[in-house]
Symmetry: C2
Subunit: 382 residues, 2 copies
């Protein structure tokens, strides 16, 4: 049905009507006092979301722009970095780091499993000459629905004493607690079309004092993503280059909604939706792709055994106007992913599970009794 | 008056309601067939606007992102380039080129004057060893309201035989004819919040075959702005990273409106508005900052003699809800700029001139007879 699609993918995520209306407003001058007031307000709201005293800068660009900014602003050519890689976005970190001539040591985990924090501890402890300049990882690995133990890994980096922690929080920020200051994170990158509940086009980067010290040393060439320019203009509640003014309107509206709901409520809601989705899938008879205890609060990846996940997704979309995410790369057809990130309510989770269950039944692929998934999920939502 | 502001600045420019409604639609998945259809259609529309057979790529980012992409994709560290600089955006080219370690020779003209094409001819002719890899310039210099003679300069670059032409067409594309193929331009960069009539956040880059050959040789580090990734995904009507989906909705709607109006009509309208603004300002008794024959079709810069341009701007905004642009850097307070770019009709031009005239009168600063500006502008609009 036209314009009826419900996005249950990890991004773009559903956008509240209030935010859409803000995005659809007529733009104003980006150097006007009216716009400076918006930059000032959203800066404060972003600090609240990041649980930090650090400045959070807004970039007009995809989440990858913030990832690149993290690297080119804190490192220099030839620097050694330690990258965690347990999925598509971990892989991307490695690619970005290599593109800028860094020496990359990779700590891998199989897709679907979390990074082992002890692997990081070991390598960091052995680095007595402090060659490792940064530890780079993904908090919520969107491709596999795994949440990595960022808090523990960050502790090991702090114990190292020299390296900084750079982390992709694109699908964790706004889904679970990422207390930047408490955990001692140095660079936190995120994107608008996720927990922020706004359309894609803005990305965000928060930097600790240690990261700014690294910024002053960094010699990688940069201009559009030179965060020093952003920090200087942020002091005047402005931007170095014309920003996506309309997405800023949406950002202000969305963060206001988030502040009204409150961080604790937002995180509880995401945890409840993860639990309901996990319980629903298991009751349907579909195995979770990641261990239950490592499941991301943003997205649940589901293995489909001998069923073609793409056929299931296609039918769910055509019959129920719900868009699920597919598997990426070698997982295409083998898993599907249910996004429960951002502006998602209990109804959305329940109907997604019902649609999956009903679709499997219509395809004669449902092993368990019809309704078992809904019953299990419903119980978790109560 | 709230929400009543008319933007007569060089960007963001006024956005049609149809485009705003498109921008305010709920996002869809950026890997969906529905979105691929939009990418396919806008790619064709962009070729039409650029009057080219070359692929035109869409980047989520400000116009400066496209400028940086132009440089880092076609040049290598230490390459010599020839930069035209006759205003704020010419200066920016020099800054970007230097940030990436290029050897920059600058051809300057005083702010308010056009670049002298013979200066380019001379330097290029003397470069017998073909050390100059690119000639980089701004077509419409937004800071001073000057249009540079891109066609002639491009001819001299072609005669050189080795260098490529990289040009910022941010405020010329959609305001006057920029026939990329006919003029032999190699890299054309532009931004959404200008002649495109959509809010800021997207930028565009078109590259000739010669530019793509340079891309293959270029060794500057890049990832987010690696155009090879954009070209590969463009072949599949997609993007390498999550694009600003909602701005794409607006892009499609705006380019459709432009195609309905037709290129010739659009260019005539801009030329008429330039002529009316120039005539109006002269009749009011305010000198044009740039020679009349070098005036940009996008923006007219006006000198204010002993009047503080910022006070004039403030009063025009407060009394008539019209936002004019101020002077940048050393020109602050000394000039104002009337944007007549994009979704601007005769009424907008006439009311801007009337508001300027009435404001000067209310401040007791009007030398000539009240109504002279409107009369002169009105005549040019007929």
């Amino acid at each position: 049905m036209q314009d009826k699609l419900n996005l249950m993918i990890p991004g773009p995520t559903p956008v509240p009507e209030k935010v859409l209306q803000a995005v659809g407003k007529h733009p104003i001058g980006h150097r006007s006092k009216e716009f400076q007031a918006i930059v000032k307000r959203t800066s404060e709201q972003l600090k609240w979301l990041h649980q930090t005293k650090n400045e959070v800068l807004t970039i007009t660009g995809s989440g990858t722009a913030a990832m690149e900014a993290a690297i080119i602003n804190t490192l220099s050519r030839g620097d050694k970095v330690l990258c965690g890689d347990n999925g598509k976005f971990g892989e991307r970190w490695v690619k970005v780091a290599k593109a800028f001539g860094l020496e990359v040591e990779v700590i891998k985990a199989k897709w679907g499993l979390p990074l082992n924090s002890e692997d990081f501890e070991k390598v960091l402890r052995q680095d007595v000459n402090k060659q490792i300049k940064a530890v780079i990882l993904t908090h919520s690995e969107t491709s596999t629905g795994v949440i990595n133990d960022l808090q523990t890994i960050s502790k090991h980096v702090r114990a190292h004493g020299s390296a900084i922690t750079i982390v992709d929080c694109v699908t964790s920020l706004g889904a679970c607690s990422v207390p930047m200051d408490e955990w001692g994170l140095d660079v936190v990158a995120s994107g608008s079309q996720k927990g922020y509940m706004i359309p894609p086009g803005l990305s965000f980067i928060a930097m600790s004092n240690r990261a700014w010290e690294a910024q002053a040393r960094s010699n990688l060439p940069k201009f559009y993503l030179d965060l020093d320019l952003y920090r200087k203009t942020a002091k005047k509640n402005s931007n170095p280059f014309t920003p996506a003014v309309n997405l800023y309107f949406g950002l202000e509206a969305a963060l206001e909604m988030m502040q009204e709901e409150g961080l604790t409520s937002i995180f509880k809601r995401h945890a409840r939706h993860r639990a309901a989705t996990q319980a629903g899938m298991k009751a349907i008879g579909l195995p979770l792709f990641a261990p239950e205890e490592n499941g991301s609060p943003a997205i649940t990846a589901v293995a489909t055994k001998d069923i073609d996940a793409e056929i299931l997704r296609k039918n769910v979309k055509e019959n129920f106007d719900i868009l699920l995410a597919g598997g990426q790369d070698h997982l295409k057809g083998k898993i599907f992913r249910v996004g429960h990130l951002g502006f998602v309510c209990d109804r959305d989770v329940l109907t997604a599970i019902a649609a999956i269950e009903a679709t499997l039944q219509s395809l004669n692929l449902l092993d368990n009794e019809m309704g078992a998934g809904i019953a299990a999920a419903s119980k978790m939502l109560q």
